[in-house]
Subunit: 636 residues, 2 copies
């Protein structure tokens, strides 16, 4: 891509201006230019305005004979609540590779949830001179994927409650008459989706009129146990008052009230399906087999049992195409899927990574970010995402900051919104060195997958040379392939050139195959225990509820799925206050749930909030539009 | 536009195939071609894939010196539950004007709600050989406008409950500290949106530190009365279990439970704002002044009081641009806004109509559809939409069917999903003639606005010549400018050529100014009574609640707004069973509500459901995707 005319090296200013000011200082390149540099023609994508395009999945079929580029995953050490710059590093590295090192490169990132944009957190497009632009389009609506997920999720929810209601008021015969009504000639037929249920029930008849009364009852009555329903409604808003609600209180619903809740949309299983699917046909199948709860006799009830799997796929048919955007320095970005990093696996989509690997080709680079610390994000990237994609990364980056290492070394608590303690602003090599136990464990855990580990030290202006060397030394001692100081926040791609060179070497010099942390064909508990061991736990303790669920999922035939731990990102252990590299603790499993369509079992370690709230003065107070220019102001 | 190469005359087949089969039989034209025929260059629009584009509002500024084309509104007689083909007629007429009569034409229609697409109703793109295509893109997601409305509506809802919660747990001082926190230098400042509230409170100070404790309390404490909240959450799904719910039952919400409900998204006031706004600045103002309820002392509380008006506008900034699509015969369509025809005004957007009128220019035609029967749709088009737009239609169409006229003449009840009675399938001129009283009243009511009325008789295959002539005669006798038989469903534009010619003459021969049904500067009751009289009522009866609300809105200064009646579309009266042209009845007003941002007061005549449900076997059973071609199947 040396001949590209779209790349540009941004002139930086010091001190670094506000993110939105930097983003607005650059006129984005028309996205068709960015696409053209990837050898995409207008047939390969749909434009969504001037700066976004959906790359069609058909590109993957067309390029199936092409070879992949290098695959790099970006994880991090256990973070402070302020975040250690994983997104920024991912973007900065790609700017270095593309705009300074003449490599073909694609950045793969998650679509941010819109809810927090108006709450405390603000946007999620990177920061400083390493950003995805236009920032407002990245953070708001994008190309509608999360809205499609919300619609699909809630259509399924409405289908569940409506079905329970209609079953409660109708006889088997009436129910069957409505499900398979006679046409003008008096003939009944099954719709295609009904054959899936018939097959599961062991009924091979194809004419509804041939069913016995017993078969009619089995077919028409899902007999959902309301207490077993795990499917919730979702909304892409921080709305704490929907964390626990009672529905069905209208007079027409005849007392069929039920307690339930809304989650934020990115916590929907459909988001996890989008992130893990590999084709339209695969997505259709996964959406249909999502389990929403059990029948009163304990059998799983699926979206296809409710007849809605096809409609869900139709709602998601455009969402399966990743969105092409650009960095500040004109390198391409694929934004796709953003599953909750907690009850789901927190990685961007398989299809975006696959398309990107083909587009960059041999010698090119795809850099993809994994959510949270490497104990959660990189672990799930390897054991869930790579397991389903069949892809193997050559290099894993671990982003570290002096700030977070000092915290792990015993520094005072870091609290969002409060000024940083003096310890974080002046040199303290001893604190940094002590904190490197956290980094070291992430390095050895990650290295065990068979990849070369490069530590990216995300440099802040208060960091000193002695502190930075201490991290580099500790990284190499712990087995890192390299450890590089990177100043992409202040300098854009130019600040990450050394990191880019290190990543290049790491990718070119990997020889080992990918090794998973656990095989799939062992019991759920064995898999949980393998992961717990990687956290430093000496054992696992299961609640009664967890034991019951493990038994149920095993009986239902789901024990062969990978495990997606729902654990705090603030510690290797279940205790967010345990910094550094705790060991010898017992990991408590409070409950175990499953996303059968997405394809994983998720044990809950502690209480996980799946619906954020708004503070007294949310970000939205500052957000407005300049009605003369149409520009968004106050977005951070 | 005679030189256009995009128009095409579709070859029709008899009997008329299924809508989806007709839609799929035509390869749509790339939307940039359709745009080019309207003299739009790529700077004027954003593409959303190959067959949709958002026309930017800036087109209106650019063309402000250009003259408008003719403006035609399509209403209907009081319908049966099956609908009388108003959308189909709107589309068919435009196909005739554009593809057969060489006129510049733009069709303006509402975006359909996605909820009913999966319920009973199916899609809303017209039918037969008069459709908007691609049908699946028209019915699903479109360009995300309804999703943006859902997001904005629910952000405001979350802001309300969160604010009540935070006010309940904090002192005035703590609240003020959080709303106006000191920066690093210890200085406080108000955000821009806060000055709106300060101004309303009569506080002219600009430095937060200068506020007295009393002013701090007035400013920081909205003191919302939970019982007065009229703002509900919305979802674009038929979810009957959300018709009445209790929220805030989570332990962290500390017992602040509240009964509320979800409406379907198109019932959101934000949808009505989108439909009635005239510019970005106007939308910002309307969204900010939406009233969500009252303070405990009876003052209205607005979105801007909650600090969220700017963020709502940011969420809606792309939604304000109408979406360009095409008919089966390649004429342009602007799809924009779809306010509930009941508690809102049921018309597509002012900005789409305005842009369209400039684009077609003098001698061209803009045909826009008004929801429900003309008693509601056309009345609101004139008295609300035209009042805010300043536009004047030359011609109003009233769509009639033999089927509906027979029902008004005393035919048996028409019930959706049940076979039609024999009376509707064989000739019965007497029934038709008797039913024309309904049509006659719609004609005289509509004519009173100063427009020429053309009756479009939407021909069905079972209609006889004698029946059709009876309608034509009755129409002319009632004062219609013309009455024309139209077979656009079976024949596309060719079937509506006579209608097109009649509309052309009607537009060229209008001389009267637009006359509203009521002036704005009289009391709420006087306005309600003027509308009731047009229904045939001899008087109006107000409930105690209605009286109280009228008094409150008058006191709050909102009595100068137009009136948006929420009444059944199945009769001129409040009783859906009273067909024909009932008169002498007393119209009961059960309650009166207001959409201050959208700009109307809406009296409730009877109970209005704002959240539809799903039947036992919803449409979604048939909807799926062909995973090899990616085509949607089973959408009706």
């Amino acid at each position: 891509m040396t001949s590209s005319n779209t790349l540009r090296k941004v002139q930086v200013v010091s001190p670094v201006p506000a993110d939105i000011d930097i983003a607005n200082s650059v006129e984005p390149i028309h996205i068709s230019q960015i696409a053209q540099d990837l050898n995409l023609t207008p047939n390969h994508y749909d434009l969504y305005g001037k700066y976004k395009a959906k790359v069609l999945l058909s590109v993957l079929d067309e390029l199936q004979e092409s070879k992949d580029g290098y695959y790099v995953v970006v994880g991090g050490i256990t973070p402070t609540p302020l975040g250690e710059g994983k997104s920024t590093t991912t973007v900065g590295l790609c700017q270095a590779l593309g705009a300074y090192l003449d490599k073909k490169v694609v950045t793969c990132v998650r679509q941010p949830s819109q809810g927090p944009t108006f709450g405390i957190k603000g946007g999620a497009a990177g920061g400083g001179y390493s950003q995805v632009i236009p920032m407002d389009e990245f953070n708001l609506h994008l190309t509608g994927d999360i809205h499609a997920i919300t619609a699909a999720n809630n259509l399924l929810a409405a289908a569940i409650d409506t079905r329970i209601f209609h079953e409660s008021t109708q006889s088997d015969k009436a129910l069957f008459n409505r499900l398979c009504p006679p046409n003008k000639e008096g003939k009944r037929s099954f719709s295609d989706v009904m054959f899936k249920r018939l097959k599961n029930l062991g009924i091979s008849k194809t004419n509804p009129d041939d069913l016995t009364p017993e078969e009619i009852s089995k077919f028409a009555r899902l007999d959902i146990d309301p207490a077993s329903i795990t499917w919730r409604r979702v909304m892409d808003i921080n709305d704490r008052f929907l964390r626990k609600i009672t529905i069905g209180q209208g007079p027409d619903e005849k007392g069929k009230v039920r307690e339930t809740a809304f989650d934020i949309s990115v916590a929907s299983e459909i988001m996890a399906v989008l992130a893990l699917t590999t084709s339209l046909a695969d997505m259709r199948e996964r959406l249909g087999k999502m389990v929403i709860g059990n029948s009163k006799s304990g059998d799983p009830v699926t979206a296809d049992d409710l007849g809605v799997g096809g409609a869900l796929t139709v709602l998601m048919k455009d969402a399966i195409n990743p969105t092409l955007m650009q960095t500040l320095e004109g390198t391409p970005v694929l934004v796709h899927a953003g599953p909750f990093a907690n009850i789901a696996h927190g990685n961007s989509s398989i299809v975006a990574d696959k398309i990107a690997l083909k587009l960059v080709g041999p010698g090119g680079y795809v850099v993809t970010e994994a959510g949270f610390g490497a104990d959660i994000g990189t672990e799930k990237f390897m054991n869930i995402k790579c397991r389903y994609s069949g892809l193997k990364p050559q290099c894993a980056i671990i982003v570290a900051t002096i700030r977070a290492l000092k915290m792990h070394g015993g520094g005072p608590a870091v609290v969002a919104g409060k000024p940083l303690d003096h310890a974080y602003l002046t040199e303290n090599v001893a604190l940094v060195e002590a904190g490197c136990v956290n980094l070291a464990r992430h390095i050895s855990n990650t290295k065990a997958y068979g990849v070369n580990v490069v530590v990216a030290i995300n440099k802040f202006s208060t960091d000193t040379d002695a502190e930075l060397s201490a991290v580099r030394n500790a990284s190499l001692a712990a087995g890192a392939y390299d450890a590089v100081i990177s100043s992409h926040h202040a300098h854009g791609g130019r600040g990450a050139v050394d990191l880019g060179i290190a990543v290049q070497k790491a990718c070119e010099n990997v020889a080992q195959p990918l090794k998973f942390l656990y095989p799939l064909d062992v019991g759920i508990k064995e898999k949980i225990e393998a992961i717990a061991k990687s956290y430093g736990a000496s054992g696992v303790e299961y609640s009664e509820q967890a034991e019951k669920q493990i038994e149920m999922y095993t009986k239902q035939g789901f024990s062969g799925l990978p495990i997606c731990m729902a654990k705090t990102q603030y510690s290797f252990s279940d205790n967010a206050a345990a910094k550094g590299a705790p060991s010898g603790f017992t990991l408590p499993i409070r409950d175990v749930r499953a996303s059968i369509g997405a394809g994983f079992i998720y044990p809950l370690v502690g209480t996980m909030s799946t619906m954020p709230g708004l503070p007294t003065r949310p970000c939205f107070y500052d957000i407005d539009i300049d009605t003369t220019t149409g520009k968004v102001i106050g977005l951070s």
